[in-house]
Amino acid sequence: MHDLILKNVSFSYPGGFLAVDDINMEIKAGENVAIVGQNGAGKTTTVKMMNGLLRPTKGDVLIGDMNTKDYTTAQVSRVVGYVFQNPDDQIFHSTVESEVRFGPKMMKLEPEEENSRVEEALKITGMDKYREENPYNLPLSTRKFVTIAAVIAMNTDVLIFDEPTAGQDMEGNKRLADILRILHKQGKTVITISHDMEFVSMNFDKVIVMAKKKIVRTGTPREIFWDMDALDKAMLKQPYVSRVCRALGIEGGVICIEDAINEIMSRENV
């Protein structure tokens, strides 16, 4: 199992644009972490450094005892899987099944192992019913699950999902929550970028807030979503029910509907 450590990491794109500015981050093996922040805060650049798609221009990215500097992207990607923000950057096969099979096939596994990984990934993501379909016949939000399945089939210890909640309906969000739960149970480290504060408050143990190329704060959803300073810096808002409670003067760290009901009911009975 691999802890993920970023030590004084910066990244500048060719041409000199600084996207990540001297950040430190530690994600323990098996943690289920969300990264939140505005567009342009440096979230995607940060996670791309975790799987070797980008190399830090300063500092070190350590995955267990691997320093990504000393390994190829192909080697790193066997440990850290990355699901692209835009599924169309990732998909290149003509059926859902062959897309999902590509990774395990390249790893030259035993045929049974290859099959079982493909089947499991298709099942977890609900993509088994589309296995013969061309991914591009599926709506964008469903296509995202094809790319998630493809990365799950690689069976890496660490998985990174870049904005999987974008464009999802209620059903899609539920399925995502299930996938996160299953992977967490399997002991995987999962890192998810999301703009959906309700989703983040309900599905993660740890939240990393980024703003302007830096980390603002790391904490539990309850800590983060009642830290108005951190939220302001990152131009984020509390979940809706937290906002309602705050306006009512109920400051009990409410982050979900159940919390809100308990707090409001307890005040009614006073």
């Binding site: 922040g37 505005q38 567009n39 342009g40 923000q85 835009n86 169309d88 709506p139 964008l140 939000s141 469903t142 904005e163 974008a166 464009g167 999802q168 309906d169 209620m170 059903e171 899609g172 703009h195 504060m197 309700e198 131009m235 984020l236 808002k237 979940p239 809706y240 029910v241 906002r243 309602v244 306006a247 009512l248 509907i257 809100a260 009901i261 409001i264 009911m265 005040r267 009614e268 006073v270």
Partner: protein, 287 residues
């Protein structure tokens, strides 16, 4: 208010399909109102948009039964002039960017060029819209070098600049952060204040509740509910049909279930705060 679009017994099949994507649709869209279109992915929302702007069947072909009327004239009888009346912002901004222009400024100007608008007017309108959508800083960039969120703003700007009377906008905020999302809603509200008719497909139901006038709910190709947003979005039974509802509506319904005295189910944050506060006060007075 005047009816600008009307669907009469509309059923539509994409080519080579046996199941209609939209079935038995009857609906009137009134001028100057803001409609939120909601429902599961695959429920027919985007097809509905394509029908209103004549792309179904005009571009996609397929089979249309019934009539879609824009200002009283059937969409199938319009030519290109329908595109001057109805502006459409694609779900995927990548589909929308023309690919023939090298800068964001030119991209936003492209539609006006095609309509033969004088150069000075193009410049004035493009600059104004770029300000409104907060993309001035991107003016010299290549549209394809932008992030998903920036591209969505450019796509929106390049349609707003045409000043159509009717705007159909398909999930314009999917790639945007919360602040960017709210700013898009504020832009849409500003358009509504200019008497534009807005039809917006959007999953962010809490913001629909905040900004829209009416809500249209689609399920499996059928329009299952339509009308005033407060009436529709406080209907908790919709949750069982895969339709998301505002967080505060779910909170309100659950509070009521537990015996908390709420007059009705709130749909916006303000309503929720006001109603819960009143009930808490009354409770204290009774005690």
């Amino acid at each position: 208010m005047a009816v600008v679009i009307e669907c009469k017994d509309v059923t539509y099949y994409y080519p080579l399909t046996e199941k209609p994507a939209v079935e038995d649709l009857n609906l009137k869209i009134e001028s100057g109102k803001f409609y939120g279109v909601v429902g599961e992915n695959g429920a027919g929302k985007t097809t509905f948009c394509a029908l209103l702007r004549g792309f179904a069947p005009g571009f996609y072909k397929g089979e249309l039964k019934g009539e879609v009327l824009v200002e009283g004239k059937k969409t199938i009888e319009y030519g290109g002039e329908l595109s001057a009346k109805i502006g459409y912002v694609f779900q995927n901004p990548f589909t929308q960017i023309s690919g023939v222009k090298d800068t964001v400024f030119e991209e936003v100007a492209y539609g006006l060029e095609n309509f033969g608008v004088p150069v000075e007017e193009i410049e004035r309108r493009v600059i104004e819209v770029m300000k409104m959508t907060d993309i001035e800083a991107l003016a010299e960039k290549n549209p394809f070098d932008l992030s998903g969120g920036q591209m969505q703003r450019v796509a929106l700007a390049s349609v707003i600049v045409l000043e159509p009377d009717i705007l159909i906008i398909d999930e314009p905020t999917s790639q945007l952060d919360p602040e960017g999302t709210e700013s898009v809603f504020r832009i849409i509200k500003a358009l509504k204040d200019r008497k534009k008719t807005i039809i917006l497909v959007e999953h962010k139901i809490d913001l629909i509740a905040e900004y829209a006038d009416e809500v249209l709910v689609f399920e499996k190709g059928h329009l299952i509910k339509s009308g005033d947003k407060e009436k529709i979005l406080s209907d908790i039974s919709l949750l069982d049909r895969g339709v998301s509802l505002p967080q505060v509506a779910i909170l309100g319904a659950k509070l009521k279930e537990k015996g908390f005295p709420l007059r009705k189910i709130p749909v916006t944050e303000d309503q929720a705060v006001r109603m819960i506060r009143e009930s808490l006060k009354e409770g204290k007075q009774d005690a």
